[in-house]
């Protein structure tokens, strides 16, 4: 190979490398300008719900239990106005083989890689997805490489990420660990080129479709359990795949009236690619550092078109603070006897607050949990934070400043999900779509696409476009 292996050289071959590594010709779904054919892409390159249930079921993925959190419901009613305080349920996704809902995404991706004849799979992730891909690769007898962003320049790593490396190795994967920086993608591309393995991206149509079974199961389980669809489903939101897949699954089950809420940990002010701030955050996923950029520009992912498009499906988007999530993780163990990892409890912290606005006979479902263990647990995460100069104390979580302190609520009544302005996020998406495509004017079909992709209206998009000074032709 006399290919140029410099950063610029490899990045310039990005599309060519990707095409070989995912087996999808994304150009087929492209239109002129901004739009692309999302639903055709999902239909032609994904799997049907029945196929996915079959694929996942054959490796023990899915059909996770749904648990009613009766004590947490009673607790939330202590702080609710009269007649309020919805019943809280949780879908115990930690029961999947690799310990998180990510097994659903990985099951499809690795099955697909095997079907297409790839020898191995690669995924770039510091999260639960690595273990999920490694677990599935083990089942299918494929080789597996996981690329992690793990350390700062002092070689100090988040205990949570180190645990995930251990888990990947436990399933026989090779783990490549890097220091902080977006050039992880460069290393990832070089590995794809070197090995010819399949890119088990989080954002392919089959990966996202893999989560549809979660939303579908959830609706069916609630109908069996309480005789109706859930009123609200809360999804922890980072790259958008969890929310997108769950919402699509709910729709496939016919749960048209269920409100889908995204929830992210508020890490405002921390730069995700900063070496010095890397270990100042106590959440490595499910936070606004991914949630907002991916909502406002989903195609920043590692495939040309991301199948995870959270704005399409999000009815409401809330944030919670790190201290609130740690507190709720402890509450889940102490009041419900269920010990799970903190990141998955982001949506639980939000649900605890949202339930207080809802009627007593309504149902709110937290759609995931994740496994816990050494490193991936509130105690090592909090003691790591303390060692890194983060102040930990009881107080009012609204005073929390990411990177400086973690404030555990001095009373559970202080746990408050804070609404983000979805209109602002939609505007930001539209602005990004114009900028990334370098357009001076846009067509009416692009207007329609933007309205769909932001779950807004033609009038809304037109207004934003006019404000941006862009012509409509």
């Amino acid at each position: 190979m006399n290919n140029n292996m410099s950063y610029e050289g490899v990045m310039a071959r990005r599309n060519e490398i990707m095409k070989k590594a995912v087996g999808i010709d994304y150009d087929r779904f492209e239109f002129e300008g901004i739009a692309f054919d999302y639903e055709t892409m999902m239909r032609e390159t994904g799997y049907t719900l029945e196929e996915m249930q079959q694929i996942q079921g054959s490796t023990g993925v899915g059909n996770t239990p749904i648990l009613e959190l009766k004590n947490l419901t009673t607790l939330t009613r202590k702080f609710s106005p009269k007649g309020k305080g919805a019943r809280i349920f949780i879908k115990d996704e930690a029961a999947n083989p690799s310990g998180s809902f990510k097994a659903r995404r990985a099951a499809n991706a690795v099955y697909h890689a095997k079907k297409l004849g790839y020898e191995g799979v690669i995924a770039a992730t510091s999260g639960n997805y690595g273990a999920a891909v490694a677990s599935q690769a083990a089942i299918h007898g494929l080789k597996c490489i996981i690329v992690q962003e793990c350390y700062d320049s002092k070689g100090l790593g988040q205990p949570e990420i180190i645990e995930k490396a251990r888990k990947c190795e436990a399933y026989g994967a090779e783990v490549v660990q890097l220091t902080v920086g977006p050039e992880l993608f460069y290393t990832f591309l070089k590995l794809l080129e070197e090995t010819g393995y399949f890119n088990a991206s989080l954002y392919t149509p089959f990966g996202i479709a893999g989560v549809e079974t979660l939303g579908y199961e959830l609706a069916i389980q609630m109908r069996e359990r309480v005789g109706k669809d859930p009123d609200v489903v809360v999804c922890t939101n980072a790259g958008g795949g969890n929310l997108t897949g769950t919402a699509r699954g709910l729709r496939k089950a016919g749960a048209e009236n269920t409100i889908v809420v995204g929830a992210s940990v508020n890490l405002k002010g921390l730069h995700m690619a900063s070496d010095t701030q890397f270990n100042k955050k106590s959440f490595t996923t499910g936070h606004t550092g991914f949630g907002i950029p991916f909502a406002t520009w989903p195609d920043r992912s590692d495939v040309p078109r991301s199948a995870a498009r959270s704005l399409r499906y999000m009815d409401r988007y809330v944030t919670v603070r790190q201290g609130e999530v740690f507190y709720m993780t402890e509450a889940l163990a102490q009041l419900e006897g269920i010990e799970r990892g903190p990141a998955g409890n982001t949506s639980l912290a939000a649900a605890f607050s949202l339930a207080q606005e809802m009627d007593k006979d309504q149902i709110i479902v937290v759609q995931e949990t994740e496994y816990t263990g050494a490193g991936k647990h509130i105690q090592p995460q909090l003691s790591f934070a303390r060692q890194n100069g983060i102040e930990i104390r009881f107080g009012d979580p609204k005073d929390e400043v990411p990177g400086q302190n973690i404030i555990l609520p001095e009373s559970p009544k202080l746990i408050k999900a804070v609404d983000l302005d979805l209109e602002k996020i939609r505007k930001s998406y539209i602005k990004n779509a114009i900028e990334y495509n370098e357009l001076e004017s846009i067509s009416s079909s692009d207007l329609e696409f933007l309205a769909e992709d932001t779950n807004s209206s033609l009038d809304f998009v037109k207004k934003v476009i006019e404000e941006l000074g862009v012509d409509i032709v």
Partner: protein, 101 residues
């Protein structure tokens, strides 16, 4: 002397500071992009030597030998006393006191 075939950790520099991506923040631009990977040592060597390993997937990777039989040392961390108070408080609210429903 570390024998051929031993399980080791190697380290190398992927990008020097001046080769880093343009969009990287200033503090990150000052440091190199580093990488660690584990594999079986292909020739006898000493710590600090430039070596080649064969990884779990069979790839051959070159780098500086930093550790033999690398172990995971992450744990449940140090005691965070504040956590002890949460369960006590929640049980008091739910099951104790005069406010009990």
């Amino acid at each position: 002397m570390i024998k051929k075939g031993e399980w080791v950790l190697i380290h190398n520099i992927v990008l020097k500071p001046e080769e880093r991506a343009p969009q990287v923040p200033e503090d990150t631009k000052k440091v190199p992009l580093e990488m660690w990977v584990k594999g079986f040592l292909l020739e006898d060597a000493q710590i600090g030597d430039e070596v080649v390993v064969q990884t779990m997937t069979g790839r051959r990777v070159k780098g500086e030998l930093v550790e033999v039989n690398p172990a995971f040392n992450h744990s449940f961390g140090e005691c965070v006393p504040e956590l002890l108070q949460i369960g006590l408080q929640l049980r008091e609210i739910l099951f104790g006191g005069e406010d009990h429903e």
